[in-house]
């Protein structure tokens, strides 16, 4: 069974590119422009990994990450933060994200990190 990755980003073009890239790499990919999507996940259908844009319009990626990590049911799902802000990495520990990737990134690096987080 292919692993399932949820990508949340407010830029629909990023979501399209992510879907293309991740599906090409053999992952089942779910995308959403809304941060709330991550908060109302179906417990029977949790993703194996969440890739979360840090500065979402509306609900801040950091808040979503914290909420996911606060909830017992979702705590185990690895969260990778992506951001165009190079020093967004500073708040990774605070929000208890599992990894960080600065935009723009190398696909090879993205895939390496995903593989590591899923293993």
């Amino acid at each position: 069974m292919n692993k399932k990755i949820l990508v949340i980003d407010d830029d629909i073009d990023i979501l399209d590119a992510m879907r293309f890239t991740l599906e090409s790499a053999g992952y089942e990919t779910v995308t959403s422009e809304k941060g709330e999507y991550a908060e109302n996940l179906d417990p029977s259908d949790y993703p194996d990994l969440i890739i979360l844009d840090m500065l979402l319009s509306g609900n801040d990626g950091r808040t979503i990450c914290k909420k996911l990590k606060d909830k017992r049911e979702t705590r185990h799902i690895p969260v990778m933060i992506v951001s165009a802000h190079p020093y967004a990495i500073d708040s990774i520990k605070e929000i208890r994200a599992d990894d960080f990737l600065a935009k723009p990134f190398e696909v090879s690096v993205l895939l390496e990190k995903i593989e590591f987080l899923l293993s």
């Binding site: 830029d11 073009d13 990023i14 399209d16 590119a17 992510m18 293309f20 890239t21 090409s24 790499a25 165009a84 802000h85 020093y87 935009k103 723009p104 990134f105 190398e106 696909v107 090879s108 993205l110």
Partner: protein
């Protein structure tokens, strides 16, 4: 015989008489010769005798210059009628002519003044006149000089007076009357304390002591007080007056009123102070408060500065009164005057007209016809307002505010000169406000620009991110499925995307650097590994061989990512500017207490002139043959700023056509031993 005897006797008696006469003649002639007075005899208009004193007077040693000459030749034209009249009188009435002053001319043409007495006389049987001339030329000259000096003193614009050592005024000229407003009658005989302010009286005593030692006090600046109670700045020169025995008996004083000159100097200094305060900070609201404190009480007893704010409303910037307790009253007056259109003077009017206004003497008439007159009258009287000025603050011809100056002292009546001074102050203040506003506008523009760059670069990164994902994923797929060279072009696309991404980063960095907003994550690091990693990464993108020479032991305190940025910049530059070379050397050394990294290429090199500017923002070497090297001119500027933030320096050594060596040095940590 008898007859003979008688004849002989007669002869001898005649001889004796003749002899006596002859002796007497010689005696008198000698007497005439030796007398110090000039003695002249003239007959029928011609000089027949002149003694040595006459020769001396006329200026010759030769009697022939005088004897036989017409007498009138030596008479000054002024005296000719008088002398002619005297001659006629003497000859007709045979009377002695009394002493009179007459003018003569000597052989040099100089005027001689002499007191002349003349007597009628018979010379060789003809009527003659004997004249005695007493030379008074020198005495006359001295008299005239004294007269001249006296009139000079009397009419001098400088005040001149004399006083006894005890201080009693003994003379007092017109200048002194004008300066001190006391006339000679009032001054002479009084003690000079009446013109000396009480606190300067000891000073006079000290100065008198010096004068007693024979000293002259020159241009001593002090203060005197006039009859109408006004203090004036004076420059005095005092000298001793001595009697015939040389004893100092009195003091002469020459005084000049330098109040105006002092005021000009003083005001110049004041304006300089104003400018200093204005230049100290761009926060003009604080500045104007300080200025108002400077103006009170120097130039006004109370002052108000108002300016238009962004909404074109007049706002109070500073209101100041010499006496704090009076401030509410001042504010009350201002609020009464606010938004009125019926006033003939005041802030509202200056705002309307844009012209300075002055009210030398504030009288009831000025505000008699306005609303609430009695209320205003009460306040003005309570404040004791006596004189007023209002000047506009203008920026490029537009009125942006007003300063009002008010006086509550009888001694301070504003004049046109004061209005000019006030206008000058206002001009400087307006200029400072304009500067501050321009600066704030520029700051706003910079903030806007930086915000724009920040947003734009973030926005640009998003499409780059998806572009990279597509390119790289497609490349991966083509590599797997189709065996052709398409993937080479995908890689080129990817590299171009990376380049775009770097440019965006540079733009963002420049804007952040200018405000010190570029973040640094400092830690203890060793440069060897960073250099190796960076070289490894760059080497993959070029045909150049990059050689690392040397190692450093010492640790530095630095941001590894920023150092990586600098080294990358230096290496990519070295590659870019040495297209025909195949080697680049990067050296690591320790010099003094710094670690030094230098990157040497064997490329086109840089002109000395360009070397000076190469680290400047947006500077690009422009020469026809170098058109092939694109860039925004940000890389070296960013590198230099990054190294500066590490407490280090950057430098360049280059020779046109031979290559360049760029390097940086950063102080190492002394107390930490190497890894």
């Amino acid at each position: 015989m008898q007859q003979d005897k008688r004849k002989t006797l007669k002869n001898s008696s005649l001889n004796i008489t003749t002899k006596i006469l002859q002796e007497s003649h010689i005696f008198y002639k000698h007497l005439a010769e030796v007398t110090p007075e000039a003695v002249v005899v003239h007959s029928e208009g011609v000089i027949v005798y002149a003694n040595d004193a006459t020769l001396l007077l006329i200026g010759t040693k030769n009697p022939e210059d005088i004897i036989g000459q017409p007498v009138m030749k030596f008479v000054h034209p002024d005296s000719i009628p008088l002398i002619q009249e005297r001659i006629i009188k003497m000859l007709s009435k045979r009377k002695v002519a009394p002493f009179v002053e007459e003018k003569f001319i000597n052989l040099k043409g100089e005027i001689i003044i002499a007191e002349t007495k003349a007597v009628p006389f018979t010379f060789q049987g003809k009527p003659a006149i004997l004249a005695i001339l007493h030379d008074i030329t020198e005495r006359k000259r001295v008299e005239q000089e004294l007269e001249h000096q006296a009139s000079l003193v009397a009419t001098s614009a400088d005040a001149i007076w004399s006083r006894t050592l005890e201080g009693i005024i003994t003379s007092w000229n017109l200048g002194a009357e004008r300066m001190c407003r006391y006339n000679a009658k009032e001054a002479i005989g009084s003690h000079n304390d009446f013109i000396v302010p009480p606190d300067k009286r000891n000073e006079i005593k000290a100065l008198t002591k010096k004068i007693l030692k024979g000293e002259i006090i020159e241009n001593y600046e002090t203060i005197r007080v006039t009859k109408n109670g006004k203090n004036i700045n004076v420059s005095v020169t005092m000298s001793p007056i001595k009697d015939v025995t040389g004893t100092i008996i009195a003091v002469s004083v020459i005084a000049r009123d330098i109040t105006k000159q002092k005021q000009v100097e003083d005001r110049q200094l004041f304006l300089e102070q104003v400018s200093t305060i204005l230049g100290a900070t761009l926060d003009y609201k604080t500045t104007l408060k300080n200025i108002s404190k400077l103006l009170v009480p120097y130039f006004a007893d109370f002052i108000r500065i108002v300016i238009l704010d962004e909404n074109k409303e007049l706002i109070e910037i500073a209101t100041h009164h010499a006496e704090r307790k009076m401030l509410p009253l001042v504010q009350k007056l201002y609020s009464e005057y606010r938004n009125r259109t019926d006033t003939t003077y005041g802030v509202e009017r200056v705002m309307r007209t844009g012209k300075p206004e002055i009210l030398e003497k504030v009288t009831h008439k000025v505000y008699a016809n306005i609303k609430n007159m009695s209320k205003i009258d009460k306040i003005i009287k309570a404040l004791g307002l006596t004189s007023y000025m209002g000047v506009p603050l203008k920026i490029q011809g537009k009125v942006i505010g007003v300063i009002t100056f008010s006086s509550n002292k009888k001694g301070r009546i504003y004049s046109q000169e004061d209005l000019q001074f006030a206008t000058e102050i206002a001009r400087r203040i307006a200029y400072a406000i304009e500067n501050a506003q321009l600066y704030m506008d520029a700051q706003k523009a910079i903030i806007l620009r930086d915000e724009f760059i920040s947003v734009a670069s973030h926005e640009l990164k998003t499409p780059i991110t998806s572009l990279k994902m597509y390119t790289q994923t497609l490349n991966n797929q083509f590599k797997k499925t189709i065996d052709n060279k398409l993937h080479v072009y995908f890689e080129k696309m990817d590299q171009q995307t990376d380049k775009l991404s770097r440019l965006i980063n540079d733009l963002l960095n420049v804007s952040k650097l200018q405000h010190g907003k570029l973040e640094f994550e400092m830690e203890k690091i060793n440069l060897n590994k960073i250099i190796r990693d960076t070289v490894e990464e760059i080497a993959q993108t070029t045909k150049h061989t990059i050689i690392i020479e040397g190692e450093v032991e010492k640790m530095i305190y630095a941001d590894p990512y920023r150092i990586y940025q600098v080294v990358t910049n230096l290496l990519t530059n070295a590659i870019k500017y040495s297209p025909k070379a195949n080697k680049i050397i990067i050296r690591l050394t320790q010099v003094k207490n710094t670690v030094v990294v230098s990157v040497q290429d064997f490329g086109i090199g840089i002109e000395p002139n360009d070397q000076k500017n190469i680290f400047n923002q947006f500077y690009r070497v422009t020469s026809p043959e170098e058109k092939t090297f694109p860039g925004l001119g940000m890389g070296l500027y960013i590198s230099k700023e990054i190294i500066k933030r590490h407490g280090g320096t950057m430098n360049v050594i280059s020779e046109k056509g031979k290559g360049s060596q760029f390097g940086f040095s950063i102080p190492y940590l002394i107390d930490v031993i190497s890894e």
